[in-house]
């Protein structure tokens, strides 16, 4: 068996990791997602220390490390601060490409929300104004906002 290493063909094993995950959204996140679901409203909240208005809302400000309690309703319109048009596909994407991801600064908010834009991609540019389109059937998920559309 001297030369066994050279004349052994290397095999592979095809497999998967298939585990069920259920992430708890928590008090703060649930209030945000329930407002999307039940009222088609986008809620944010404001850090009492640095005044940053966050979306999605946070239990605490990561920068100031203080609890956040002041909630406010944000506009469902905002400005595209950056975007990409996706042209490759994979099974975790919620849409068939091409579609766009955009970081959207909603009016009244200090941070951007990442979401998708489906239509008029040729007109999409940095600084474009967009408006949230809500799904008909909403289940308390971030994709209860179906997408943002160009105004």
């Amino acid at each position: 068996m001297k030369d066994w290493l050279t004349d052994t063909e290397a095999l592979t094993l095809k497999g998967q990791i298939n585990l069920p995950y259920t992430w708890w959204v928590g008090d703060v996140g649930s209030r945000f997602l329930i407002a999307l679901r039940d009222e088609k409203k986008i809620l944010g909240n404001r850090c009492p220390s640095c005044n940053t208005v966050y979306v999605p809302p946070r239990r605490n400000c990561g920068r100031c490390f203080v609890d956040i309690n002041e909630w406010l309703e944000l506009s469902d319109e905002g400005v595209v601060s950056s975007y990409t048009i996706v042209r490759f596909s994979h099974e975790l994407q919620p849409l068939e490409p091409p579609y766009a991801y955009a970081i959207i600064k909603l009016d009244g908010c200090d941070v951007g929300l990442v979401h998708v834009i489906k239509e008029n991609l040729e007109s999409l540019k940095n600084g474009a104004r967009v408006k949230a389109v809500f799904k008909e059937d909403r289940t308390g998920k971030i994709l209860d906002i179906d997408s943002f559309r160009l105004i």
Partner: protein, 386 residues
């Protein structure tokens, strides 16, 4: 030259089976705030952070970067350490070296897990080798059962002897407001609980817990200013020697613990552990470990553990109380579990144990267990090392 390092503050969530009210980051934040409050620091005082858990338990990749809002890592150095069950002690030891290196003065160690977010058995199965073991592996219990049988055969220990360990830990948990399982049990309860794999029954093993723990480490010169009675790290040692499941000798002692303990005890000047140590927080994931492994630590001779434990030497008020916190059998948020051992040992040294305080603690021991029968050992003290 390495700097001396002490633990100056600890914080834990109130551990329980499910935390639907917080996401992972928010749960971590709770523990961090409690640790900072404990030593009256703010996040601005923290120079660096070490965090750990098990990736596939919550399916979060890059937990270090995901966590920053909760952990306090915004515009701070943060890194992730993961070694399985020993993650918590590995995180603590990493925080120790952050400070000992001289690069950071105050470092936060964080361990956490939300076991309720997946199926713990299924997740643990993914730790087995995909080529050889994963199709048949069913989690840790069969191999622990094998270890238990080997120990019973050698020592003559009975199932009741092991149950006594579970009863001790669960009784101690009644004194710990953070513990997950806080309901007293009897030896009979353990014996009557469902058999999982002979000789292990449901009440012999740890629960599945959501929880987080945070511990603040500080350098000599700083530590004394933060805490009136810091818990000095005297030594830490680690053995993760086995790679293959089939290499563990079920008919011998826990070699990794023997070796890690020897190194740590030698460096800490611990000659007779029962005499020299005042309290031990041991990572005992199941009751039989509370017999076999204390022999590996040298608390008693081979085969003597049933009697040693039975006589009450490891109870509160005994020669060397084990797990005043209630131990792993009362709380098991896996990535936090070994860090909780370190935190609880430090609490004892600092004299902050409240109802679970062992009087006049000078030296305390914390251990971690995980991976392929791996062990970590940390010795701490009211006295400075060397």
């Amino acid at each position: 030259m390495a700097r001396r390092v002490a633990i100056v503050g600890t914080g834990q969530t109130d551990h329980c089976s499910h935390r639907p009210d917080v996401d992972g980051r928010e749960m971590i934040h709770e523990a961090v705030i409690r640790a900072l409050d404990d030593c009256e620091l703010t996040i601005r005082d923290i120079d660096a952070i070490v965090i750990g858990n098990m990736d596939h338990f919550e399916s979060i990749n890059y937990v270090d970067t995901w966590s920053v809002e909760g952990s306090g890592g915004v515009m701070k150095p943060i890194m992730k350490i993961t070694t399985g069950g020993t993650t918590g002690t590995s995180v603590a030891i990493a925080a120790y070296y952050h400070v000992a290196s001289g690069l950071f003065d105050r470092v936060l160690a964080i361990g956490w897990e939300k076991n309720s977010e997946s199926d713990t058995t299924a997740a643990i199965i993914t730790c087995s080798d995909p080529i050889w073991d994963r199709f048949s592996y069913s989690g840790a219990i069969p191999s622990l059962a094998t270890e238990a049988v080997g120990y019973m055969n050698r020592s003559g220990a009975t199932q009741e002897d092991a149950a006594r360990v579970a009863v001790r830990d669960r009784t101690h948990a009644l004194n710990n407001p953070h513990a997950h399982l806080r309901k007293p049990i009897t030896v009979q309860d353990v014996m009557d609980s469902p058999m999982l794999a002979y000789p292990i029954k449901l009440l012999d093993v740890c629960p599945r817990t959501d929880g987080a723990c945070a511990v603040v480490f500080a350098a000599e010169g700083t530590a004394e200013k933060i805490a009136p009675k810091p818990a000095w790290i005297k030594s830490c040692a680690v053995r993760h020697s086995i790679t293959w499941f089939g290499d563990f000798d079920f008919n011998a002692g826990l070699m990794s613990l023997q070796r890690a303990a020897k190194e740590a005890f030698d460096r800490a000047g611990i000659k007779n552990p029962v005499e020299d140590l005042d309290v031990a927080e041991l990572y005992l994931p199941y009751s039989y470990a509370g017999l076999k492994w204390i022999e590996d630590l040298g608390f008693c001779g081979p085969g003597e553990a049933p009697e040693f434990v039975g006589e009450g030497n490891t109870d509160m008020g005994g020669k060397i109380p084990i797990n005043p916190s209630g131990g792993v059998i009362s709380t098991n948020c896996i990535g936090a579990t070994a860090l909780i051992r370190v935190a609880e040992a430090a609490i004892q040294v600092m004299g902050k144990g409240g109802k679970r305080q062992v009087p006049d603690v000078v030296n305390a021991l914390a251990t971690g267990f995980g991976g392929c029968f791996w062990s970590d050992v940390v010795v701490m003290s009211t006295q400075r090392p060397y």
